[in-house]
């Protein structure tokens, strides 16, 4: 096997290294050290500025930078082409991506093209000391179980890592490394899918992923009108609202507020789960919260098995009093 080293596929967000990239550089450094191999990173964008140097400060030995106006925003065909070509040249043993909009699309495509072995949405990555193989741990059956996966011979061994699972790498600006421009132009004839538009759907108030308090509602809320009570409580607490899939499906909350395995992963200080059962696919998105509070009329609902505090009652009898009391306490 000629493949060697760990390659992190980085992401640039608003001119900076994306937080997931800094997390990946930390994990990648550890894996590379255990293997006694190099850690490299790939950055793609229209301008990568000093970010190559920054990736070195976060642990990379080499940073490949691909600059092209076609790489300005994520474009599946263009990114796949550049990353696949680089992999064929560098032949990494391990390739890590974030479980993000970019990684979720790019990793499976790259894997299809390179014939590697890919584990998506990983919660842990390690090197087996005996075999030196990458062991990827990922949730299966909606999080009811965890599976360990390996690739015996397919290369690269690929994984996407869930956000905020590991701490960010430490920055050390005295670290030395090499920034290497990626040669070659993108073949425009291979760009089959055209990006016509990008629409941001702004939601009022605090961003869900950044909120310190999230008040989430489920099917038991009953109507879009009742969801207003959640917004009210969230406003008083300086937080925002989340929702389960059925609540989004019914249009009570915008889809962008879905929390869970197939929605957003949040880790606020306080997660108030109202009239939602605590399905494993939902709590996958909020288990990182410091305190989980459950309000549910069914004392056997699964949400009570992960909550720190709970009230067993109809939410309509609880929310107004809860909001009023918080208002009083927080203004005091």
């Amino acid at each position: 096997m000629d493949n060697k080293g760990v390659l992190v596929c980085g992401e640039i967000a608003e001119g900076k290294l994306a937080p997931i990239t800094i997390e990946l550089l930390g994990v990648g450094r550890k894996l590379a050290d255990e293997l006694g191999e190099e850690l490299s990173a790939l950055l793609m964008g229209s301008k990568t500025g000093g970010l190559g140097q920054e990736a070195i400060a976060y642990g990379a030995d080499k940073v490949y930078v691909a600059e092209d106006s076609l790489l300005d925003n994520y474009n599946s065909d263009a990114y796949t082409q550049v990353a696949a070509n680089l992999c064929l040249k560098v032949l990494p043993s391990i390739m890590l991506l974030g479980h993000t909009d970019v990684g979720c699309d790019l990793a499976p495509r790259l894997n299809g093209r390179l014939g590697g072995g890919l584990a998506m949405d990983c919660l842990a990555l390690s090197v087996d000391p005996a075999t030196k193989l990458l062991v990827s741990t990922r949730p299966v059956f909606g999080g009811n179980a965890h599976a360990g996966m390996i690739s015996k011979s397919a290369r690269p061994q690929m994984a996407t890592l869930r956000l905020k699972i590991v701490p960010p790498a430490e920055r050390n600006d005295s670290r030395q490394g090499e920034v290497i421009p990626v040669e070659g132009k993108i073949d425009p004839s291979a760009l089959k899918v055209k990006v016509v538009d990008r629409i941001k759907e702004e939601v009022e108030g605090v961003k869900l992923e950044d909120a310190e308090v999230v008040v989430s509602g489920g099917r038991g809320i009953g109507s879009a009108q009742n969801f207003e009570m959640l917004w009210e409580l969230a406003r008083v607490l300086g937080g925002t609202v989340g929702a389960t899939r059925p609540a989004c499906d019914d249009g009570w909350a915008p889809m962008t507020l879905q929390v869970g395995q197939t929605g957003k992963v949040v880790s606020p200080k306080l997660y108030i789960a109202v009239a939602l059962s605590g399905a494993i696919q939902h709590i996958a998105g909020c288990l990182g919260s410091k305190y989980i509070v459950a309000i549910n009329k069914d004392n056997e609902a699964n949400i009570f098995s992960v909550a720190h505090f709970g009230i067993v009652a109809d939410h309509k009898e609880i929310l107004p009093a809860l909001t009023a009391k918080f208002k009083e306490l927080l203004s005091a």
């Binding site: 599976a147 098995s305 709970g310 109809d314 918080f326």
Partner: protein, 264 residues
């Protein structure tokens, strides 16, 4: 417009966690007795997306499912929703394949069916959720792929797809044929009703074996698997939940607020 939809039959993902049991030795899940398997959530939405396109454009929908013979149930469910034809891909050699193996078999069946404008898959399966068969399949078929669709339209012989991203969506345009993976944002699937249920019940669902689709045994050899599951475990979570009470629900709410205000 001719659409092929790949659907999978899975253990009902909404069973209560207490009923979820595994065999860690075999690295398999033990299906709870009396709980019938279902069509994988996102695959059902892919069928819905296909039905909406057919409602507008006309054409045919063909459904394929790799799985046991019993997977004809989910094929029939798709036919009851509006699909026209369906096949089950079942062979001993198809059991326990990894994503590449599955994509290879689906690709062979799709090539046999031929004449398609669009291939649809769910964004991920509701059981193992490997989230990559669609993209590998597109690579095998040599057609463009768009993942995580929240809406699909056909305009002027092109596909217009809304791709869901964290803070909104992208509008993408792809030629035909292409492959699209469907996310739940597409909306709720229709409930099969009336005459469609009768049609589905009477429909023959042929079973295709490896030789029927020309799948080569070297491609199905487990020794060449790209990935392997080496362990399966159920994570333990232990949280003590303090139930907050009061003389009235309102009182309980106030007590809870007081406790939380101290922690924040």
């Amino acid at each position: 417009m001719n659409i092929i939809v790949c659907v999978k039959q899975v253990l009902d993902p909404e069973i209560p966690p207490a009923k979820f049991k595994i065999d860690p030795e075999a690295k398999q899940v033990i299906p709870p007795p009396g709980v019938p398997p279902v069509i994988s959530l996102f695959d059902e939405r892919a069928v819905e997306a296909a039905c909406r396109l057919k409602d507008k454009q006309g054409g045919t929908i063909t459904v394929i499912s790799l799985g046991p013979e019993k997977a004809s149930e989910v094929v029939k469910h798709a036919i009851a929703m509006g699909a026209d034809e369906g096949y089950v891909l079942q062979d001993e050699a198809f059991e326990n394949l990894d994503s590449f193996g599955i994509a290879y078999v689906l690709g062979k069946a799709i090539q046999k069916i031929g004449g398609y404008d669009l291939v649809l898959c769910g964004r991920q399966s509701a059981d193992w959720g490997n989230s990559q068969v669609g993209s590998i399949l597109a690579e095998i078929l040599g057609i463009p792929v768009i993942t995580l669709a929240g809406d699909i339209e056909a305009v002027d012989k092109k596909l217009r797809v809304k791709r869901i991203v964290r803070d909104g969506y992208e509008v993408l345009e792809a030629p035909m044929p292409s492959l699209v993976t469907v996310s739940n944002e597409i909306g709720l699937p229709r409930l099969p009703a009336g005459v469609r249920i009768m049609i589905a019940a009477r429909k023959q669902v042929p079973v295709w074996k490896a030789q029927d689709i020309g799948a080569e045994s070297s491609q199905l050899d487990k020794a060449n698997a790209h990935t392997e599951v080496t362990s399966l475990s159920v994570p333990t979570r232990k949280t003590e939940c303090e139930i907050v009470t009061g003389d009235t629900p309102g009182q309980a709410a106030e007590n809870l607020a007081a406790k939380l205000a101290e922690l924040l």
